[in-house]
Symmetry: D2
């Protein structure tokens, strides 16, 4: 019944799972009913803080009859099977990105998703950031005319461990994928991908044949061009900027300040403290909004939750970027 | 016992009382035990949302034996009696500013406060704003050298109703008092006050012989000068800025943006959305921090809660400003 | 004949005289015909660079028959006599501020100036700064509604030598006078002056009973209030800001950057190089515009050159500020 | 003799030729001796203002024996022959970019340039912009560590006439070429070029098979990546920004403001007037500095004037970008 809080099963209690648990506890429309992690101590710690029955077995969550939806925040390799299980159980799922690193596995699941009617949403949290969402809405309202160039800067504060890089699927599938979805948030119909990657500072990337620095260029069917600049490190803190250029002007999203204070001295004027450190701070509001929007999707209300197809499209673009960067060609894509 | 949440009695459930009720509910160190308002429906609405026993009689709160502290958010005229009752009951109190509009009543209570040993704190919330507190700490750390000039801009979004003006005690006691305390947050020992007031736009102020625009200048015993600029209205939203000038530089607090987005067009570049609307948004963090600091005071831990004497000093300065603006003289003050 | 370049006699070849000489050389509407300084080597150096006949005797300039106007940039004590001499010779004069440190001497000259019909202009260069002039024009056009508060920050990079302070007439007549004129540029009819001064860092000011830090508050007949903040030093460079507040918004003039470059690092973001050093850089455009406007005055064209009366009004306000700061009273003034 | 002003022959008196003529007149180290344009009225207008002997025949300039250097500001198609003539006459030349639209013609001249010893410089004026030059110097000094990503935004205010597009050589050779040189100013050894172009708004570009919007990505031998964003139009005025990213931080060049004034209202805060309109305003200082540096080159002093080889390298990169955008491949280049 839709006016009761939605009972959630949380699968995966790592850093991002904990964020979602806190959101569920804070949102009067949601409760945390089950908490699952093969590392059961992690699940227990979350349940102690935010409530819920603990298990190390995801199938127990689906079988419990006590969850209205699941949030899948487990390792990427488990996503496809968990989504399949959710569909089997008829339970809507919000799954963290990416669906999988292998497009073949994603495509294999696609018909099931399409035919099932079970709501499956993807965790592209940045779509729910108030600043990005506002720029998109203002662009859509024609404030700068037809979008001609979209520029996204996205740099993490520090490179992940080499062991993470080894299984990450590479910078495009692991990191750029968020920006590729952001590109599609503004321009869904991307038709061409070109990418260039370099390895200039990170031993982990070098060891595993990955890039630590990448620039990706996309063309939309409208002719608009998207530029994405990525780096695995950033001295200034989490660097998350966006700029939409059109015939009537430019809308920009600046980095998020941590203070209203600036200092001017004989050597530097108007200097401000560094930006927010990383995604948990920068996108705190976005995670909460993402959850609210998924609740609307589950309840059959109008919702802008990113879909399984959005997740698949982002992976297709990441694959194309990887190929472009490796083979030095531009890659035509068909997302339809 | 100090590790239990502090049980609060909230007296007064208007706008600011509701803010404190929400803070108490959100802070694991506090609970809302009793809620009091002569307008008992207001108290009940707060209790329904955040818990607590409802009453329309403050003496019931003090007699309940169920509160470890009270928060006084009732009309100004009731503050002195309620503080006296709290002291009588041996219950620490956090009282909204100002203590009273009549310094004689404040002075009459002073010996009782001093001799009682019951912690009495004043609700000068802005001291707890992260930006102002950071500038003060950086000034204290010598980052700009000895403070020579402090400039405070403080303008409300819109003039209050004429009926409010009638009983407000005038702009200096009602509005500037916050800025006078902010001045003392940086420079406690103010020795001279000069003020100029004008009535340029507000019919309510004109009707009741009040000013709608005022500039107050203070001198500290160190020789440092403070400038305070007030207006009862502000088209750009709540205008709350501060600038500390010293021999080595300037620390500035900017207005709080509501968005990271800016727009550049053919007519205006780098334009941003308006600032936060008013104090509930601008000082949300400060109210929570103020409560935490008062809890520390009640628990006998080191605390920076503003004291009854701080409240008295601000009122003395407001009285001096009022006299200066009316009599066109600078007024020497002794806060000691 | 008005289409020929105006032939100037320059009296005084110190720092500011040299600025004017360069302006005259660069402006096709003016030429430097005579250069006068009792320190004749100074005059010769200027003439070598920009042309003109050299003399150490101002009366030779007036008697030469070769100048259409004089620019008086000699020490303040000589201004009244030189203006009188210019009027006697029927030669228009642009005189640096202040007219004199003694209002009695200014008043004594006033009837002569008024009856003579010889154009006498005062060198309040800041009126010609594009930023200040733009704000004034936009205020006059109603962009922010009726002006309610004008805030001027004016700080020199470093205190002058003690010997200069000794003969300067004090901070109000020497330094604030520029800001007092700026106040009158926006609000000509000032009716009340209140000032507070402190001596917090400068031994020279202390030695000569002057202030190094001052805040001046003015009231206009409209009720609008003006705040002026002065300091004899400024670590960040020449600090020259202005802010006009009205019911519809705020117009601000920022300090002048020296570069388009900013640096963001792990400790400071968006830090920029210091501001322009002092008035020669900051007001370079203003000096040239001031000269052009005076040429228009001399030629009988519509001109906004500040008048002898403007110079007198600024001195009256400075005197009132000095008295207010010393006697701790607000001072009513009548500029009419 | 090097202490005399350098006597210049100016060939071409269009918009950019006039800028150089004014620079020559203003710089005490240079004089304008000859002015040449087949449209002799243009040459005469320049000579009337800034001096010099007028001719419609460039060979007369070289034969005059009265010029120490030439500045070639004639149409692109004439550059190669004029440089050849200058070398033949043993007269140093500063030639506007590009050398030619056909790399074969440039390469044919290369051996002559190399063996002649006659100083030939290219007019990449942006290298002399104080902001860009400052960032480059600070990067070179290690302020942000090794450069990892350089981002250049370069947009003209409005598309040129279709007739200009027809003979321009395309956006990469005509417009991007400046940015390609800027990339090489920071990272001379570019090894790979990838570009994407679109035609989204300009009928002239569409008519002539050109792009109006382009994104170019370069890789340097160090692995650093460069992103260039171009558009043939820009509502906000001339959009010229640069951002250098390294492991220790970011150096940014902002657009050039036209005023120190900002306006805050109920709908937009901190809005500023539009940026400088186009290159004549934005790069006024750069043109003068470019000329001074060329004088140093001619006099055999240490000079940073861009060379013929720099001009050739930029054209090679533009050709590679054109090919990349057309054939959808990344293009390896060898500039050595």
């Amino acid at each position: 019944m839709t006016t009761q809080p939605l009972r959630f099963g949380l699968i995966g209690t790592g850093r991002i799972g904990q964020v979602h648990a806190a959101s569920m506890a804070a949102d009067p429309d949601t409760t945390l009913a089950w908490v699952c992690d093969p590392f059961v101590e992690g699940a227990r710690a979350v349940a102690d803080r935010f409530g819920g029955t603990v298990t190390d077995d995801a199938s127990a969550v689906f079988a419990s009859g006590e969850v209205d939806a699941v949030l899948i925040a487990s390792p990427t390799a488990t996503h496809v099977d968990l989504i399949a299980a959710a569909i089997e159980a008829g339970i809507p799922a919000l799954c963290e990105k990416p669906i999988d690193l292998d497009i073949a596995r994603v495509d294999a699941l696609l018909p099931t998703v399409r035919s099932s009617g079970v709501p499956i949403a993807l965790g592209f949290n940045r779509r729910f950031d108030p600043a990005f969402a506002s720029v998109r809405a203002r662009v859509a309202a024609g404030e700068i005319g037809d979008l001609e160039h979209l520029s996204i800067v996205s740099r993490d504060p520090a490179a992940p461990p080499a062991a993470y890089i080894a299984v990450s699927g590479g910078i495009f599938r692991d990191m750029t994928i968020h920006d590729l979805d952001m590109a599609r948030f503004f321009l869904p119909d991307i038709v061409e991908v070109s990418a260039m990657g370099s390895t200039v500072f990170d031993p982990g990337a070098r060891q595993h044949g990955d890039f630590d620095t990448a620039v990706t260029t996309l063309r939309a069917s409208s002719g608009a061009i998207v530029s994405i600049s990525n780096s695995r490190h950033s001295a200034i803190g989490y660097d998350q900027r966006l700029e939409a250029f059109g015939p009537r002007g430019i809308l920009q999203v600046a980095n998020a300040p941590t203070s209203l204070v600036s200092l001017s001295t004989a050597t530097v004027v108007e200097g401000r403290p560094p930006y927010q450190d990383f995604f948990l701070e920068r996108y705190a509001e976005a995670y909460a909004a993402e959850l609210r929007e998924f609740v609307r999707l589950v309840r059959g209300e109008p919702s802008t939750s990113p879909t399984f197809e959005d997740g698949r499209a982002a992976l297709l673009l990441a694959d194309a970027a990887q190929r472009s960067a490796t083979e030095h060609v531009a890659v035509a894509v068909e997302l339809g």
